[in-house]
């Protein structure tokens, strides 16, 4: 008999939501592997796959029988099992009976608790088929979905959609699985309309081949390839291009069992509607790929992925064209009817759209954002940043949310901001303002770009700071996976804008300005200082994350710089760059260690150490401490001058020059002197040193590197 065999498993399901399939495949694999391992069955290579109607798994070399296992069973202690002449007692005899083993086969074993009588039993392995019959229904119960349902009754199983058939084979034989009244078998289902029903399969290869003949491509990667190559063929033939759209491709891969690409047309008259809107209608609502010509202009065509081998009679194309026509007619209707009023006239309607019940309407948010946008632009204007325009920022903030009341955004919510920007531009609003409105939600992820102009940056920051502070003020604080107002994204957005465009801004001042807005306008609440601090920390955490993960700085560099001060992120970044450039220099690393030592000494000395005390030169006894005091004064002044000029590297270099003196101090001076006055003076010297030289970065955060 063969030792190993192939395992094939398919859960046949009513259409699984496309977005859930990739994760379900990964999870199915993890769960099955876990169970195989727990049962001591090795399986060779496992793979999983998914289509809208099935989740599948196979393993090429599953051990058909669980290996036998030797198991040592402890009986009574030796002292109880044998009397003083070494004869077995009743206890030993009854253990031998219980184990069904003669006394001669028992033995004594040494354990941490002493010597015990023991028996070696063999646990015979079970057939993998029997174990699988238990594992598989269990695995199906363990698969988790964001929203599951029951269909056989409230006490029945839960799954993403009703399960309708199961294929479960081991070495070509059916595994006896039962789940919700379904008995697993060796037949699968082909494509809903093109394939056969009840197709018998014997193994993975047979399964794949037969399903292919029945218009199901089980491997997602292969479906993706088919879609991509057909798109390529259609576009090159007609000299078109499609936008790279990985998300849309991913969707259509999991929406179809047998994807084919067809091309369709729409009336070129619709090209008068802005491309952003056309693309959204096609992509988000119909899942079509938009097509552009070589000049980058949109063409009046689209590519649709259909779940058929081909469009037999041209009816599918005609149908899709019809639907798109109606959608585009809608979009055109909104484009025209919305613009019967000017964008600004929608402002009053915002009073009817809630931002959050305790925080008022978008009308109220607009008032707050205007104040804040003006304040931010004003800060930049005062710092002499070219192009800072307070009145443009105010106007952009005034118009920013107006599109929420338009028909277009109510229909195509994902176009918020963009529609406002397009209307503003079409109505002759200043370029600076209309692009700012257009970009106000940017960046929408860590890889997205920031608003293209300065007013857009001011507006986006104002909107995000207001959301952050307002939500925190009423207790909406992101935790775990719950972040309904996308505050993490807002905080990341703040960091991205400031860092990428190198814009100076005091985070704490911006947060206070946001609080002022919440008090001056609706909802008229006072934000507690602790809450402001929490917002600051929240943004700080995002900054740390992005500096590490996106900008590639080491975590100790980021921590050291931010521990010194974290209020202006551009300044933080400059200090990190300086720190990074100097950390490997010959003086710096030992100095960092010395600083860590200083911190430890001060911590150990406790509150009546050097903190707060002033240094008295007359109390110095050793030359080394006098020298340190002297040099520290000189270098601190030099470093401070560099720092004022923003020359952080030079400042750090100046500080590094202190290294030999610090070393000498630790060699020659015993800080914890018996004389209290001397000791306190020395601690004060060190505390001052730490304070003075930690304004660029807290060196004690630096981790020494192995060379």
């Amino acid at each position: 008999m063969k030792e190993r065999g192939e395992f094939l498993f398919e859960i046949g399901c009513e259409e699984i939501p496309a977005g859930l399939i990739p994760k379900a495949c990964i999870e199915l694999q993890q769960i099955l592997e876990k169970h195989f391992i727990a049962n001591g069955i090795s399986i060779g290579a496992m793979r999983t796959w998914g289509t809208p109607r099935r989740l599948g798994a196979s393993a090429d070399a599953v051990l058909l029988r669980q290996p036998d296992q030797e198991k040592e069973i402890l009986g009574p202690p030796k002292s109880v099992a044998f009397d003083n002449v070494g004869q077995p007692t009743r206890a030993a005899e009854s253990f031998s009976e219980k184990q069904g083993m003669p006394l001669a086969k028992l033995y004594v074993v040494q354990t941490p608790r002493g010597e015990y009588l023991a028996a070696k039993q063999i646990v015979y392995g079970r057939d993998a088929k029997d174990i699988l019959a238990e594992i598989l229904p269990q695995a199906m119960r363990e698969l988790s979905f964001p929203r599951s349902m029951y269909w056989t009754g409230k006490k029945g199983a839960r799954f993403t959609r009703p399960v309708r058939w199961i294929v479960a084979l081991l070495a070509g034989q059916i595994i006896k699985v039962e789940y919700e009244g379904i008995v697993a078998g060796d037949t699968t289902e082909g494509h809903r309309f093109l394939g056969k029903s009840k197709i018998r399969v014997t193994g993975r290869k047979d399964y794949e081949a037969k399903l292919r003949r029945n218009f199901v491509i089980v491997e997602p990667a292969e479906r993706r390839k088919k879609i991509e190559s057909e798109i390529h063929a259609l576009t090159t033939k007609k000299r078109w291009r499609t936008h790279e759209d990985a998300a849309l491709t991913e969707q259509v891969v999991y929406l179809n069992e047998y994807p084919s690409v067809i091309a369709g047309d729409f009336d070129p008259a619709y090209l008068d509607i802005p491309a952003e809107i056309l693309i959204t209608v096609m992509r988000d609502h119909q899942k079509y790929f938009a097509v552009e010509g070589r000049d980058g202009e949109l063409e009046p065509h689209f590519l649709a992925v259909i779940n058929l081998d081909r469009d037999r009679s041209g009816l599918v194309r005609a149908g899709h064209e019809r639907v798109l026509r109606a959608r585009l007619a809608d979009a055109q209707f909104f484009w025209e009817s919305d613009q019967k009023r000017r964008l600004g006239e929608y402002l009053e309607k915002l009073a009817h759209i809630t931002f959050e019940s305790r925080l008022g309407s978008y009308r109220d948010k607009t008032d707050r954002a205007r104040d804040l946008a003006r304040w931010i632009s004003g800060q930049w204007f005062d710092s002499g940043i070219h192009g800072a325009d307070v009145s443009a920022a105010d106007r952009a903030a005034e118009l920013a949310k107006c599109d929420l009341a338009t028909g277009m955004v109510r229909e195509f919510t994902e176009l918020q901001g963009i529609v406002g920007g397009l209307y503003a531009r079409a109505q002759g609003e200043d370029e600076e303002v209309s692009w700012a409105v257009y970009d106000q939600y940017k960046p929408v992820g860590v890889d997205d770009s920031i608003p293209r102009n300065l007013t857009g940056c001011a507006l986006s920051l104002a909107d995000k700071f207001d959301s952050l502070v307002a939500c925190f003020a009423v207790g909406i604080i992101p935790s775990g996976s719950s972040d309904a107002f996308a505050l993490r994204r807002a905080a990341s957005g703040v960091v991205q804008i400031l860092l990428e465009r190198k814009l100076p801004l005091s985070l704490s001042a911006a947060i206070s300005a946001s609080s002022k807005g919440l008090a001056a306008h609706k909802p008229g609440i006072q934000v507690a200082p602790e809450m402001e601090k929490k917002v600051l920390e929240f943004v700080g955490e995002r900054a740390k994350y992005l500096l590490r993960e996106k900008q590639g700085f080491a975590y100790d560099e980021v921590n050291a710089a931010m521990a010194a001060s974290a209020d202006d992120l551009v300044d933080v970044r400059n200090r990190i760059v300086a720190l990074k450039s100097i950390r490997h220099s010959k003086n710096f690393a030992p100095l960092a260690i010395a600083f860590k030592r200083i911190r430890k000494i001060l911590e150990k000395a406790g509150p009546d150490g050097g903190e707060g005390g002033s240094v008295k030169a007359e109390l110095f006894c050793e030359e080394a401490e006098k020298q340190l005091h002297r040099e520290a004064l000189v270098l601190a002044e030099r470093a401070a001058a560099h720092k004022r000029g923003g020359r952080y590297k030079e400042a750090l270099e100046s500080i590094s020059e202190l290294r030999p003196t610090v070393d000498r101090f630790f060699d020659d001076v015993m800080v914890m002197d018996e004389d209290v006055a001397v000791r306190k003076n020395r601690l004060a010297l060190l505390a001052g040193l730490l304070r003075e030289f930690s304004t660029i970065a807290d060196f004690s955060e630096m981790v020494a590197e192995e060379k």
């Binding site: 009513e14 259409e15 939501p17 496309a18 977005g19 809208p52 964001p146 929203r147 349902m149 029951y150 269909w151 056989t152 009754g153 409230k154 006490k155 959609r161 009703p162 309708r164 809903r192 309309f193 093109l194 929406l255 179809n256 119909q286 899942k287 649709a304 259909i306 779940n307 058929l308 037999r312 009679s313 041209g314 009816l315 599918v316 005609a318 149908g319 899709h320 019809r322 639907v323 798109l324 026509r325 109606a326 007619a329 809608d330 209707f333 009073a351 009817h352 759209i353 809630t354 019940s357 008022g360 309407s361």
Partner: protein, 338 residues
């Protein structure tokens, strides 16, 4: 080889179907209704009639709302004209209507091959599924006013949404056991597709009367009413009155709240007033008369009534277990569709 021969037959048939220009394509609107009603009544459905109170969706018909509660199996099909005041476009938009016609099917409990039975209904109205791109795309349904939600799909025909297919999990705030399958066909869309017209008003209702002939005036007048004429103060008063009537009937422990009559409360009558509240809410909404905070509050008031009606209905029928297991609406972001 056989497959290829078949395919070329289809290709040959194509010119003839285009040549049929004298006879217009597809069934008339009324034929479509008859075909679907016949199809489903042959599959064990009671053929019911539309409800005579304004509703926003077929789900609100008592034949759905009450029948899905409790343990008794049921199958029903009916037409339900559904009013959505905010969707009115004065008859000027080719695809949007103040009132559209739903065909609603409830299968309780759903048979295991329910999807195939549904697909056969499409074949029955003349759709060749091998020549069209049919798909089931995720669409989880939720009705905040009815305290109901379910899991399912929108069924797309060449990209056109033609049916909402839902496995109800909860109604009136109660977990359902067994679950029901609800199929809601959008008849105007399907008819426009079958007749190949670009505007629902051009649909042939019968051989010689168009949809527009019959319904255009209604669209114009009710759009005008909901957007311009409805008096917000009076509508609100009507809402309050209906709510009070429903509450009075529900009373406390079988006692009429105002008259003190101690008899089995007529729950069905109370439900009618819930429906009226729901419609009046929609009128107020289309009139733009509902402020931000009020909106959620009003929906909550209607839902509270519906949930009480459902609980009382179960209690009255002795389905106490169902009435006790009050579930909660899921937190996940379901799209509010109806």
């Amino acid at each position: 080889m056989a497959k290829r021969a078949k395919a070329s037959n289809v290709a040959k048939r194509k010119p003839s179907s285009i040549a049929r220009t004298t006879k217009p394509a597809g069934p008339t609107f009324q034929q479509l209704i008859l075909q679907l009603q016949t199809y489903w009544s042959k599959r064990g459905c009671v053929l019911q009639q539309p409800y005579d109170v304004e509703v926003g969706a077929g789900t609100m018909h008592p034949e759905t709302f009450f029948r899905v509660l409790g343990p008794l199996p049921y199958r029903v099909v009916y037409i339900q004209p559904s009013r959505r005041p905010a969707d009115g476009r004065y008859g000027e938009n080719p695809n949007r209507l103040y009132k559209h016609t739903q065909l609603q099917v409830i299968l309780k409990p759903p048979p295991a091959d329910v999807q195939n039975i549904y697909l056969d209904s499409l074949r029955a109205i003349g759709i060749d599924l091998r020549h069209h791109d049919i798909r089931f795309e995720e669409d989880n349904w939720e009705s905040p006013t009815l305290g109901a939600w379910g899991v399912g799909w929108q069924v797309l025909l060449d990209g056109l949404e033609i049916t909402q297919f839902t496995y109800f999990q909860q109604a009136g705030g109660l977990d359902l056991d067994p679950v029901s399958c609800e199929l809601t066909y959008g008849l105007e869309r399907i008819a426009a597709f079958l007749q190949n017209v670009d505007s629902v008003f051009k649909l042939r209702w019968s051989d010689d009367v168009s949809y527009g002939d019959i319904r255009l005036a209604e669209e114009q007048q009710f759009s005008a009413y909901s957007f311009e004429w409805a008096d917000a103060v009076r509508t609100r008063e009507m809402f309050d009155l209906c709510e009070r009537e429903a509450k009075a009937i529900l009373g406390t422990k079988g006692t009429h709240a105002e008259t003190g009559i101690k008899r089995k409360a007529p729950i069905l009558a109370a439900y009618d007033f819930c429906l009226k509240c729901s419609h009046l809410f929609n009128v107020l909404d289309s009139r733009g008369a509902i402020s931000t905070t009020e909106r959620a509050a009003l929906i909550g008031r209607v839902r509270a009534l519906c949930c009480r009606v459902a609980a009382e209905y179960c209690a009255m029928n002795g389905w106490n277990e169902a009435a006790q297991t009050v579930g909660s609406l899921p937190q996940a972001t379901a799209q509010v569709r109806r």
